[in-house]
Symmetry: C2
Subunit: 437 residues, 2 copies
């Protein structure tokens, strides 16, 4: 079938045969299919979707457009976590070394922050000298040595997906659940995983607008991953407020290190513990979640998780001593307060607005080539459900001396609603989704 | 709004503001909008449609990407006819000079044949020396002199529509009713018309698959044309069989000349008469269809219509004497017969298959750069509803001496069904559609 016939068949609600779809996507990966035909096909997929076989074919074609991480014979099972992105989500940084300290291999490829969400790479990038741009050969070496590595997507991994994402980004075909799922898994499964935990965010700071669409994405991801030979579990988790107290690259890194010391905020720890337990079960380190949680707590208590992260920092070019030197990480800062205009309980936060305020402050980027400031950020002093008196601070804004933060203050003040009544707060862990087949 | 925002808005079922859509299409016309964004937008339009204001904006943007024919002050009203294309449809060739002979101006821009349908330009091209590639300035001169001209689309008329059509052709976005309507009218209304008759074909040889979709296209066309200041009427007409007896470029030209002599097949004349009457009423030559038909019959009977065509042939570089010399037009031919395998009545014809058999014979083209043979073609001896005895010919195939026509015979034989019972034949003129607003 010609590209024309395939576009037309998808447009008319048909199902594309694996061989024909594979050949079309291979042409795209080689640069032999024009962008305008791919754009038309993506828009048809937006309206018509992809069935499980089409979705698997699509994802495999993107995955096989590049290389994969190498699996060392005899090494422990390989597991990873992917989050759909939120504000204040620093879980990857404590989770990867923690799970590695419990005996599994964690080859974590992460992204940079874009729009209102932060990115693991930017947080790690606050460490002077830390190299996130590893080649796959370098990543394999770190992984062999430590059982964990943390790197950015390279040109070697799923390069066709990277080109396709850029095309979708300018043709309004990003927010298609099958195309989102294919993009996530074509990159994650290039890590050659045995198990994958998916953290699908729900709420005002999440990409999926409703819990229903988040659940559809979660189900699509776990079933597609299973079809491709990687056991997967998804959790829908709350992004109704920033996760933890810290928003900002260096401060989130420090909060993740606090978790590795057993001193992090309750919600960050709860999410780390649950996702870590799923990883240990998927990686067959243990069969039970309670036993998995016991292993995780032990790795925190005996310092092995923190030691693993310190070793990782050293292996990737950083000096772990800076993790005890906030002044080095943050630089010279001033702090101002955003205070409550009335007494009551924090009822709601517009987490998207808080993430965008962080971008305005300089902690994030709206374009992929924007520079960021690792030191700036917020401390969230009051979270939804918590009591606040009139004039008490809700946020601390950490900014450079002399920086104009009027707009940031305005945005943060508008992002919080304080009510007299106590408003119920959604739980952090909303629902667990596993494959039905 | 950015192109991204407009694509997204259309994708989500929104309506695009005229100013924003106009600016986007002007960018496209200038080559400043990438094809991949236009392809995504067209696919979104395929699913979501265009409302009347969007459609008018779209059509005007395409029209204004090029020049228009010049209107001479004091000249008679300008009218034209457009057909959606069929097999054996030679009506334009007799209709244009006939209506001009009745006192209106007919600036007819036509297309070439492609796929199973023939094209007016190819039929005129059978006349040695006849120039269909006139510049607009040349067309204006012929029009001033004769009140009629017949030319092909030039690069000057709606060039952005031509580029867009090529893009739609490879992105499966051709068969969208609003985009079809915009494409037709952006070219036709560049003739600066007062009235337009649309012949929308229905049946096995038509582009619109069902009468319902043909009616939707007809309604879209007449309302859009009216919105743009050109009164329009559409007729749904039967394409359940080839029109007339002749299929093939030179032979269809000769059949059209027969009509101008008052000797053409009944169906070709009936359609010419009805469409011509609509044009005379739209052009306010007369207010009544019966009076219009009387004028048309007179122009045939007194030879003025034929004389106008002869003058047109001369003005555009041909020698009208060849219209009386079939041997010159056709060249050396042989004729073979496709006969009935059983006695009965012709029940159905697969008109698409007949058109494609003509392509195989050499009378049409599948690619726009294919060469064609003006002389080859068929005579349709039996039409649906007519009686045929076993072994009697249904088609005559006119081919070059020694040409292998086995495949053509096979296709034609398979394209006809003969039944014992008399099967009702749909009327030629199915329905009239005029603007409701």
């Amino acid at each position: 079938m010609t590209p024309y016939e395939l576009i037309r068949a998808k447009r008319d609600g048909g199902t594309l045969a694996p061989e024909a779809l594979r050949s079309l996507l291979a042409d795209y990966a080689r640069g032999d299919l024009p962008d305008y035909q791919m754009a038309a096909l993506c828009m048809a997929v937006f309206f018509r979707g992809l069935d499980p076989t089409e979705l698997r074919t699509w994802t495999e074609a993107m995955l096989h457009s590049g290389a994969t991480l190498r699996r060392r014979p005899g090494a422990p099972p390989r597991v990873d976590k992917h989050s759909t992105g939120g504000v204040g989500d620093k879980v990857s940084i404590c989770l990867a070394p923690l799970v590695a300290a419990c005996g599994l291999t964690v080859p974590m490829v992460s992204g940079r922050g874009l729009g209102h969400t932060g990115g693991t790479l930017d947080k790690l990038g606050a460490i002077p000298g830390f190299r996130t741009h590893l080649s796959l050969a370098e990543a394999d070496r770190v992984l062999d040595e430590l059982g964990v590595c943390m790197l950015g997507q390279t040109d070697e991994l799923a390069p066709a997906d990277r080109r396709l994402y850029a095309l979708r980004d300018v043709t309004a075909t990003v927010d298609s659940i099958p195309l989102i799922a294919a993009s996530i898994l074509s990159k994650k499964l290039a890590e050659d995983l045995d198990g994958l935990v998916l953290d699908v965010k729900v709420g005002s700071g999440a990409f999926m607008p409703t819990q229903e669409s988040a659940e559809r994405l979660a189900r699509t991801l776990v079933e597609l991953s299973g079809d491709m030979g990687c056991r997967a579990v998804a959790w829908l988790t709350s992004m109704h407020a920033p996760l933890g107290r810290a928003v900002g690259n260096a401060s989130e890194l420090l909060e993740a290190v606090d978790v590795l010391r057993g001193q992090g905020p309750e919600d960050v720890w709860a999410l780390t513990l649950r996702l870590g337990a799923e990883m240990l079960v998927l990686g067959q380190r243990t069969a039970s979640v309670p036993e998995a949680e016991r292993l995780l707590r032990t790795a925190i208590a005996d310092g092995s998780a923190l030691a693993r992260f310190q070793a990782l920092v050293r292996a990737q070019g950083g000096d772990p001593a800076v993790l005890d030197a906030p002044g080095v990480l943050l630089g010279a800062m001033e702090t101002t307060e955003v205070t409550a205009l009335s007494a009551g309980h924090v009822a709601e936060m517009d987490t998207l607005a808080i993430g965008l305020a962080a971008v305005v402050l300089g902690a994030g980027r709206t374009r992929s080539d924007d520079a960021i400031d690792s030191g700036v950020g917020f401390t969230v002093l009051r979270r939804p459900g918590e009591r606040v008196e009139r004039g008490e601070p809700i946020f601390l804004v950490h900014h450079r001396p002399g920086q104009d933060v009027a707009e940031v203050h305005r945005r943060l003040a508008a992002a919080v609603r304080v009510s007299e009544a106590i408003v119920p707060v959604p739980p952090l862990l909303l629902a667990r989704v596993e494959a039905s087949r």
